[in-house]
Amino acid sequence: MPTVLRAALRRAKIELRQQLLSPMAVFSLLGPAVLLTVLYFTRDSQLMESALSLGQFLVPAYLAFGIISGGVLGVSGEITTERDDGTLLRAKTVPHAMTGHLIAKFFVSLVTTLLPLGIIIVGAGLLVDGVTPTTAWGWVRLLLLSVLTIAATLPLGAVLGAVFRGPIALLWTTMFIYGLCAVSGLFYPITVLPGWLQWIAQVFPVYWLGLGFRSVILPSDAVTLEIGESWRTWETFGVLGVWVVVGLVLAPIALRRMSRRQSGSALATARERVLTRGY
């Protein structure tokens, strides 16, 4: 195994151990726990005129939201922090350590994003009917979709983290993405929104993430709540595929540019900013 990969795995192992054994890990279980509770108590209440329960509709929404927050917001937040606290500069002073650092980050994000999703799928499957794929092909599609969506979101997170300078810019990004989640029909059917808003939502990957998960998880008659009453499977994979390519092209450029700008004085400036302003 190449040294850089070996070092990256060592790092990923240490970081995962730190994260999963820290008291903060409990909070990452909070979301799934709340969702499963809601799911259980709303299992009989119907969503609009469909045969779906509200809880059922929320499961794919939460899967999509979990990937967005873990993949985009989590990664971009970490990169911004690591730039300010000197982690990235440290990596730059050691040969190949920046590459190793980013590979490790990919592994860590993969695990920390998928873990809560796994808990939801298993928990929901035990609590209520009709929220897990019913066929082997369905499970395969769920797995493929998870991999594809993570591949589409992690690089975008890295780009955002690399491009934006401080926590304030990151805050705006976060608000933009939450806004995007709100208009992308994650938490209620997108067809209740005005047409122009539907078009905007379809440009961004959030909508397609949600659609993809709904198509895999929900019973087939739930398709009546979708645009054109179709799951648009090929379009989903096509659009997400395009975002994967966009991310993979932009991420190395943005990360290299960011890495070039790391220096002791840049770090001193960041430290001064944090010590005087508090963020």
């Binding site: 060592r10 730190q18 440290r90 730059k92 004085s265």
Partner: protein
């Protein structure tokens, strides 16, 4: 400048951000195994210079060579031969000392040679920097001094040929400063070229074989501490009062100066003749460069022609990249 035997060499190095000149013309040569202090007031361009040498900044002009390569274009194999001691702050707070060095050391395994084993084994290294008892300590629980020792350990991890330390004792209390000086002095047997920056003359004198004074974006003095002190001892400060007015003068020849003074009319009282200290000479030199005086003090002897006064610039804030 390929093919030079020096560990570090620059010629006419320049750095400007827009209209601000941080470095005007820095030319320096540092031989292998030398321990050199780059001394200068805040904003003189010390950090900019060292970051160019570390490969973290691209100079606006001039030539630069570290271990025979141009730092900002050199590859990872070059990086493995260069150690950088950071002023770390709070990175890797949750990591433990030993696992942190073990992890970073992995990256150096490919660069081991028949003569030099790499990385430096963690246990030996921690002993060397005085952290042997802290292997399981989390980084966030180390004191400021311990943290800087760990920074030195990271810098030494790959047994570098050149080690850079930028203001290594900034923010230290006197005891931590003294401890750190002892640590740096103990590195002299390593055969590593060491370049450190400081604004503290005493520190430079204590640690370095040679001092380069950087002021106003250029090197204004270059010599061993002894050289500088020797030249300094030729200068004396003469103070006296005549007709109630205080006069002070620095001169290399106090005898003829005084003969001259006493020959003039008026009563001279409170006469005092004192050899200038190295500190005073340094401050006078810096002051002269910064205020644009024509000639630097003769006591430093080896000064290049300064030409026009370079504009003042602050390397840390003039560019937030």
């Amino acid at each position: 400048m390929p093919g030079t035997g020096a560990a570090i060499q620059t010629r006419n190095l320049q750095m400007q951000y827009g209209a601000t000149h941080v470095l005007d013309d820095v030319s320096l040569t540092i031989g292998r195994g030398e321990v050199v202090a780059l001394l200068g007031p805040n904003g003189a361009g010390k950090t900019t210079t060292i970051e160019i040498l570390e490969g973290f900044r691209v100079p606006s002009g001039g030539e630069v060579s570290v271990l025979g390569e141009t730092p900002h274009t050199a590859g990872e194999a070059w990086r493995a031969r260069v150690g950088v001691v950071l002023q770390s702050w709070r990175d890797h707070g949750k990591w433990r000392v030993e696992e942190f060095l073990d992890y970073l050391g992995l990256y150096y395994t490919d660069y081991a040679t028949a003569e030099v084993s790499r990385p430096w084994p963690t246990t030996d290294l921690l002993e060397r920097v005085g952290l042997a008892g802290k292997t399981e300590r989390r980084l966030e629980r180390l004191s400021g001094g311990e943290r800087r020792r760990l920074d030195v350990a990271v810098g030494l991890l790959g047994r570098p040929e050149v080690l850079f330390l930028d203001e290594p004792t900034a923010g230290f209390d006197p005891q931590a400063r003294r401890d750190f000086h002892e640590l740096v002095q103990s590195l002299s047997d390593l055969d590593t070229t060491i370049l450190l920056t400081t604004h503290d003359l005493t520190e430079a004198e204590l640690l370095a074989d040679r001092i380069l004074v950087l002021a106003g974006g250029t090197i204004v003095a270059d010599g061993t501490p002894d050289d500088l002190r020797h030249r300094m001892s030729a200068t004396a400060k003469v103070r006296f009062r005549r007709d109630g007015q205080l006069h002070t003068e620095s001169t290399e020849d106090p005898v003829s100066y005084l003969r001259d003074v006493l020959a003039r009319p008026g009563e001279v009282i409170d006469l005092e003749v004192r050899r200038a200290s190295l500190e005073e000479a340094y401050l006078a030199l810096v002051h002269q460069v910064e205020t644009g005086a024509d000639t630097p003090p003769a006591s430093f002897g080896i000064l290049p022609d300064l030409g026009d006064p370079p504009p003042e610039a602050d390397a840390r804030t003039s560019e937030d990249d």
